[in-house]
Assembly symmetry: C2
């Protein structure tokens, strides 16, 4: 007899993208930023490394929240810093969804949401997207109506498309929360702003942000939620007291204070994204126009797994993804490649390899 | 109507010890180590700060687990690193206890266990300790028998006493897990070793360790679990993929590799602990002999809150604690002071202040 709860025993756990720890790979598989973080980050870390690490961090992350609040035009008490935005997603499931409740999310989208639902032992249902990566309001309406939480990445992954606020409004559950996962927001033409919290459904919205993508800090595990005061006060009860460490706090505070650095990297990535999209088209691929730091593409041959393996043999890692149950794809299975935007040189090497492969 | 789950709405959240962020305090309230971490830690952090922070950390914490396994004489797959040992405690509640299940823990002990049970919406029951900080096997037996998880800090807080393995064996639930919280283990005469995992009940034991106390690294939020292979494999499914950041991993790996540094600090703290205990007795207090990095004491006057406030007025923070429902204390309320062992100078300043106050 297992001691584990039955729903924990049942799950296999989330499998993150491959993370080779040795050098020599061109890593275009987990949407990391190819550029280093602001030089102020290393300075802040070095200062933190030699001062009071023997003491607990500020459990309220006062300095970080003050600066983040300025950047987003909200109050510091509308910000909740977490150990990566993964942690805030976990905190949300634990706050709003219990056994018997329903969680929903667009599909194909971020696979982790399903794992989070399984871990919390809640039902989950997919809001199936069509070939244009949109939902039909009529089709998803009944699910949204019953959901206690709807998770929406905007821009979406793996597609990279961005939905408008009026589209998003269709996914707000009348008796639940909408989680707007903005992991890739900074790469969009018009990132979702905190303005949405002023909508009449704004008391039911939690926006999340991460430092793993636009701020080049996947290594420090830092994210945060933005929501109305009551929402943040409730979520704060569910987090561990000292969920963010002193060094990550110092690093994230330095990074968010240097908006110019982040924006310059985002601009370069957007340029390379346009170039890659164009190259893929020339090579006969069918890429989806992206608002994120990756491009989703299929190829008419359908040989996506073979292409992934051929790239891997050349030490180029991209993400091969398969989504069963998509009714507009062949055999109801959609698969394809998600290619992270690296440096221009890395992406050019990938394109060169693809020229040899396809 | 609140969107939050009823059990979340109900709780008020764990209140950690006061953490003044400005200088000038003698901080003897949250069991931090007064000495800096190994110098190798700052070196490791500085190296990590300037290399690949844009990439995700190793989700398996391979280097750390290798060294920790050597230190504890176990296999690397028997180690699960977490974001502070708080995170492993949360992971355990989510893995083993569901609605309707029972969690238990000695009382008085670490208050957080109750908060963790409330967050998971499980029942909890106290294993009431007697005046010698021991339990009666007859009294606690029926509760242990029904529990899905029993949390035991060893050494205990606030008392600082340590239980033997044969005592601990009385608390292993027949159909649940025993969590041996070893936050203070390194300060004991004979720290609990991983030997207990070889007992016939060893498949139902999870040991936890933290870097916040003996390793002087409360600021980096790092802890880990030690258990048998199956147990660790199950717990790993419940953690966030990237729960430990690159810098904390580098810092913890450097710290655990420098056992001599940790041991030297522990020796100094044990010396000061003996001195403080002696001084408290001379001042008319009734301290409990401690195996941890703090001393629990009462005073015959019972004016513990007044003494706490008088120390605070002198910028000396100790922890005033009150435990209702203790049947051997006056009015069933036990209160007292928990004084962290700081440097000899800090503790001497506290003693001087107490001389003026009592």
């Amino acid at each position: 007899m297992s001691l584990f709860l039955p729903h924990i025993e049942r799950i296999s756990g989330y499998v993150p993208g491959e993370q080779p720890q040795e050098a020599g790979w061109i890593k275009l598989n987990t949407n990391e930023n190819p550029y280093p973080p602001s030089p102020r980050v290393a300075e802040a870390i070095q200062a933190a490394a030699t001062s009071r690490l023997n003491l607990y961090p500020d459990p309220l992350a006062t300095n970080f929240r003050r600066i983040a609040a300025e950047v987003y035009g909200v109050d510091p008490d509308q910000i909740l810093p977490t150990n990566g935005s993964d942690e805030v997603l976990t905190i949300i499931t634990r706050s709003f969804t219990g056994t018997g409740d329903l969680m929903a999310y667009p599909y194909p989208s971020y696979i982790l949401y399903e794992t989070l639902a399984d871990l919390q032992n809640v039902s989950h249902q997919r809001l199936i997207l069509d070939e244009q990566w949109n939902w039909s309001k009529e089709r998803v309406g009944p699910v949204v109506h019953r959901a206690k939480a709807v998770f929406v990445p905007n821009p979406n992954s793996p597609s990279g498309n961005c939905w408008t606020t009026s589209q998003i409004a269709e996914l707000v559950p009348p008796e639940g929360v909408l989680v707007l996962d903005g992991a890739y927001a900074d790469f969009a033409d018009e990132p979702q702003t905190a303005e949405i919290l002023n909508a009449d459904f704004g008391d039911r919205v939690v926006m999340t942000r991460t430092f793993s993508k636009s701020y080049s800090l996947a290594g420090i595990r830092f994210g945060f939620a933005i929501a109305r005061h009551d929402m943040i006060a409730g979520l704060r009860k569910v987090k561990d007291s000292y969920n963010c460490d002193s060094i990550s706090l110092a690093a994230a505070t330095a990074a968010i204070a240097d908006q110019a650095w982040m924006r310059a990297n985002v601009a370069r990535i957007r340029e390379t994204r346009a170039w890659l999209t164009d190259q893929l088209i020339q090579l006969g691929f069918t890429p989806t126009p992206s608002q994120a730091n990756f491009v989703w593409t299929t190829h008419p041959s359908g040989k996506h797994h073979e292409i992934y393996l051929a790239l891997k043999a050349r030490k180029i890692l991209v993400r091969y993804m398969r989504f069963p149950g998509v009714d507009w794809a062949a055999d109801r299975l959609l698969d394809g490649l998600r290619i992270t935007i690296g440096t221009r040189e890395e992406v050019a090497a990938c394109v060169e390899a693809l020229k040899q492969i396809v």
